[in-house]
Symmetry: C2
Subunit: 297 residues, 2 copies
């Protein structure tokens, strides 16, 4: 028998809770900028109740994200890849709050690349487990730290983190590259120009980005277009590298809303690959799958 539950995606900079019906549909969403770093003195329970206090306390809560990291509510050890939703379900950590809510915390996955470098994630794996019914094996979760994830059967076998969003913001706000920028609407042409430059010279990142200044200096790029151009340079650099070991006919799903997701879809298309949008709320589906495996719902 399936039941209603609460899906909780509590990350570094944002809190998002979904009240989910027995049919899997999202009935209500609470979204707040109160990420785990904004919660002082470990007052996570108080923060949770502030946001979802109005929701039935008997509904089981399925939680994922940085909330299970060292800076979070309860630190849970990573599970190494390859791993399946089954593995996450087996490692759920059950907790009952003072107000009587039952929370099942799902941990994240670690990965050791062939060159020995470790990688970490918390929550993107749940999005992917919630997206396996797309029938494809390559997933992208854009963001501050985007992840490129590969699956095989029901297992997540490898992934790589790219510091793309954060690097773009740092370049824009804290280097000379932002100086000539003026605010403006997204400029698709400038973005595509940046992506193309990146695809043509993937290793030239530290040199190529200087053109965001020099093109501006020479009046060859409008101040309002520079941010889009630089965004294309950065995302294009990520795409060029992330696709390098995959078959040319691989198909990618971008698990994001059209805003940031649209830039990735566009960049992947410019690289000549097949791409579609996945469900930006796939984490709800993923948490439901894990909850069902354990009889929580």
């Amino acid at each position: 028998m399936r039941k209603d539950f609460i899906a909780l995606d509590w990350g570094t900079t944002s809190f998002r809770a979904y009240r989910v019906g027995a049919d899997g549909r999202v009935q209500d969403v609470v979204s707040a900028a109160e990420g785990i770093l904004a919660v002082k003195d470990g007052a996570f329970e108080a923060a949770l109740e502030r946001h979802i206090g109005a929701w039935d306390v008997t509904l089981p809560v399925m939680a994922a994200g940085m909330i299970t990291s060292r800076q979070g509510w309860i630190e849970l050890p990573y599970i190494p890849c390859p791993a399946s939703a089954e593995d996450l379900a087996r490692a759920l950590h059950m907790h009952t709050t003072a107000s009587g809510r039952r929370i099942a915390f799902a941990t994240g996955l670690s990965y050791r690349a062939p060159n020995g470098m470790p990688d970490v994630m918390r929550s993107e794996e749940v999005q992917v487990f919630g997206s396996l019914d797309l029938g494809i094996n390559h997933f992208v979760t854009p963001g501050t730290h985007s992840k490129w994830i590969t699956t095989k059967g029901d297992q997540l076998i490898r992934y790589a983190t790219y510091v793309t969003g954060e690097v773009f913001a740092a370049l824009k706000d804290h280097t000379i590259l932002g100086r000539l920028m003026k605010p403006g609407p997204d400029d698709e042409e400038a973005f595509a120009m940046g992506v193309t430059a990146a695809l043509e010279d993937p290793a030239g990142f530290l040199h190529r980005i200087f053109s965001a200044r020099s093109l501006g200096l020479f009046g060859e790029l409008a101040p309002e277009a520079i941010a889009s151009y630089l965004s294309g340079q950065v995302i294009g650099t990520e795409v060029a590298h992330a696709i390098r070991d995959n078959p040319k006919d691989a198909e990618y799903a971008v698990l994001a809303s059209p805003g940031i997701g649209g830039r990735y879809v566009k960049a992947i298309e410019i690289a000549g690959l097949k791409v579609r949008y996945g469900d930006p709320q796939a984490i709800v589906k993923g948490l439901a799958i894990i909850a069902r495996k354990t009889g929580i719902i």
Copy 2:
């Protein structure tokens, strides 16, 4: 007949003046953090006299750097590459200050890469013209925006800017990669590890740098070593790209003091190439060469 003169290197963030004897030796140096961006309301003459007012007003001044840019004292148009010291000498802009100092301003060089991207520099070309007697053709000027410069005969034929120093600072101070860092002495081993990782996967910059966090999280890199490791990642990325079109037996001169210069020498050595230090004060020699060509000294 040769004469004493004053060499002035006035950049974005720093002011440096050298009193040079007829024998070419530097007799005195004034160095200050008063770069052109720190000079308000165009009060360049007052700033100059504040720093070198004690020096004989009849000595000719040879000036280079961002002082001839749009934000500087007198904006001079770039000369396109290829260009020689002779070309710079012919384009000198003569100016006499209210106090009677005669200043010859040398402009910078622009370059249009084969892919159409423009590049700009002001002052590094003078360092290179002052270093041609090394008898090699490849020069590196490390810094906020480092330049890799190629010469042929007495001409500077091409160059590329890398935003390396500024990107490193932005990553360290404004992204998650700096969070686990603790101050410590330069860690040569961690630096070399970063350079090697970059040389092995030049296009993976946005992914590789995440290891500055993940290695720290897993306790595989000491907090005191993370900054050196990230520096190796960034400089290694620059080196891997900058050398790609040059012959394998090319020899490079690093025009910098041992501090930052040492990191570049090390990284270029790890890449298996020939490298030596050039004169970190080569700009003095370069300005003297230009001054002699015009009879200023």
